[in-house]
């Protein structure tokens, strides 16, 4: 992976990084390989004020390569789980989670497939998704965009979507925001009057029909043509190679 030519995985990583561009001095919690790489890219380049952990309990002053163990001089603070909960209830956090299922209003499921009472497949459980989505900004990463993942209705609402948040009234849902969904095919947001998922950009080489065919609900397609997701410059690709020398993200993204 020494080539400076951007791959689909690189485009996804930059799209992830862009989710955190204007977040300022808050904590980023990125679950999974591509979210971790994208968050590190943001911190290493245009969003240096982001706080980031080693995935355990150390706050790190600089973005380290995926899989690297921090040295003492990489540490700037302490973030044990108790402090993570305090931070998320405080709201100074943007999490990017995975989604086994996600629907058109951004309701997300990581808990189980089938009825919760007797699941066909027990997945992660709700974990922190209910608290995250109701307290601070949340984005999602879907490495394999298909109609089994982007569904009309999720089996169990773990992460709260816009229709559910709206039902709580103006106070209950006031900290709820789903910033973006990044998949291997494109970038999606909820910048629509009724907060339905919208195709914001297609990754280069992806056809609109391919996205429509692989989405289990009707996406909002912007009038007047769809943007193309930005391709990282050779310089950015160079940073990505340094942050992921083993090429883990290249293996995660389904092309």
């Amino acid at each position: 992976m020494s080539s400076r030519e951007a791959t689909r995985a690189d485009i996804c990583a930059l799209a992830v990084a862009e989710c955190f561009r204007d977040d300022g001095e808050i904590m980023v919690s990125a679950m999974g390989t591509t979210p971790s790489l994208g968050a590190r890219l943001a911190k290493a380049t245009f969003a240096p004020d982001l706080l980031m952990t080693d995935g355990y309990n150390l706050l790190l002053r600089r973005a380290l390569p995926l899989g690297a163990r921090p040295n003492d001089d990489d540490i700037e603070g302490w973030m044990p789980f108790g402090s993570v909960f305090d931070t998320l209830w405080w709201g100074r956090r943007h999490v990017m989670m995975g989604a086994s299922q996600i629907d058109q209003f951004g309701n997300q499921n990581i808990a189980c497939i089938g009825p919760w009472e007797r699941p066909k497949a027990q997945l992660l459980g709700v974990r922190g998704a209910p608290g995250n989505t109701i307290n601070h900004v949340t984005s999602y990463w879907v490495p394999n965009h298909n109609a089994r993942a982007l569904v009309p209705e999720v089996d169990m609402v773990s992460g709260v979507g816009y229709d559910r948040a709206a039902s709580l009234g103006s106070r209950g849902g006031r900290f709820h925001e789903i910033r973006r969904v990044i998949s291997n095919l494109g970038v999606f947001d909820f910048n629509t009057p009724d907060r339905r998922m919208r195709l914001a950009s297609l990754h280069p080489g992806i056809e609109l029909q391919q996205v429509i065919d692989n989405t289990g609900f009707e996406l909002v397609i912007p009038d007047g043509g769809v943007d193309t997701t930005p391709v990282p410059t050779p310089e950015i690709v160079g940073v990505l190679r340094e942050l992921d020398p083993q090429g883990y993200a290249q293996k995660e993204v389904v092309v």
């Binding site: 789980f81 699941p119 209910p130 608290g131």
Partner: protein
């Protein structure tokens, strides 16, 4: 001051069928596994376990001793899904109370503070309220009138925790980088037992780490068990990392009843000393 040293078998002798047990640690991290193994030897049944779950819940699912799991999650960390728990859920052999991880913490805090509930936004709008019909909301009595989830106290009968060091009187020390919530587990319980890697004098305990590592004081625990390797196969830094190879071997036994029987015979239906001998050979 009382000398609270005892064996794990003496501690679990207080556990009776149908009790609610709190288990400290987090996922596959600093779990009081020697107590879990003692619970298996004792064969106590119909347990409700309250835990940030890992192999503690998995093992008690596999032995059929678990009636109900109350959890924020159940994971082996390096193996994201606890396979024995997963199997129990899919076969419908256990009851489950699945809470958001933060709700779970508030439930422990409420119990520790002897409150009936603590309010939170976590859970609002999600199906956590649907799968937990026992959960109610509460309305702020102030001008905002905000409606919040009232997380009920997670009271437990007996809690088990594992520390790096302790003294004979029940002061306990966590030398790793995360204290988790073991102090709250003790305070949420009617009675708590602490195992540790090594029992030392109070002088050595205080000298062995910064004051903020003295997570447990002696009011919180009724018994102290010296159990070197007592968190195995979960991690117990800085004393030892997770035994990943052993954990993989354990996880594989969920696929096959014979494999589980062999694992159980070799590692669980034996004394703690024989367990430690078997895993170090």
């Amino acid at each position: 001051m009382r000398d609270k040293r005892m064996t794990a078998d003496e501690a679990v002798s207080e556990v009776t069928d149908g009790m609610t047990i709190g288990i400290g640690g987090w996922g596959s991290r600093r779990k009081p596994m020697s107590f879990v193994r003692a619970l298996v030897r004792k064969g106590v049944k119909d347990l409700t376990v309250v835990s940030y779950g890992g192999p503690d819940i998995g093992i008690l699912c596999a032995t059929g001793q678990l009636k109900k799991a109350v959890y924020g999650f159940v994971s082996l960390d390096s193996i994201p899904l606890e396979p024995h728990f997963r199997k129990a859920r899919q076969q419908g052999t256990i009851e489950a109370v699945e809470l958001d991880e933060g709700m779970f913490l508030l439930g422990l805090r409420a119990a520790a503070q002897r409150l009936p509930f603590l309010p939170t936004r976590a859970g609002l709008g999600s199906d956590v309220l649907k799968i937990n019909p026992q959960l109610k909301t509460v309305k702020s009595p102030y001008a905002d009138g905000e409606e919040l989830v009232a997380v009920p106290a997670l009271n437990v009968d007996i809690a088990f925790i594992h520390m790096n060091r302790a003294d004979a009187q029940g002061n306990g020390q966590s030398l790793g980088r995360d204290p988790y919530f073991d102090n709250l587990f003790c305070m949420a319980a009617n009675k708590a037992f602490m195992s540790c890697e090594k029992i030392v004098s109070t002088d050595e305990l205080v000298a062995g780490g910064p004051l903020q590592s003295l997570l447990i004081n002696r009011m919180m625990v009724s018994g102290v068990v010296e159990a070197p390797g007592g968190a195995h196969f979960t991690e117990c830094p800085p004393d030892y990392p997770r035994d990943e190879a052993f954990q993989r071997e354990y996880a594989k036994t969920a696929k096959d009843d014979d494999a589980w029987s062999a694992f159980r015979a070799k590692y669980l239906d034996v004394s703690e000393a024989d367990y430690q001998k078997a895993v170090s050979s």
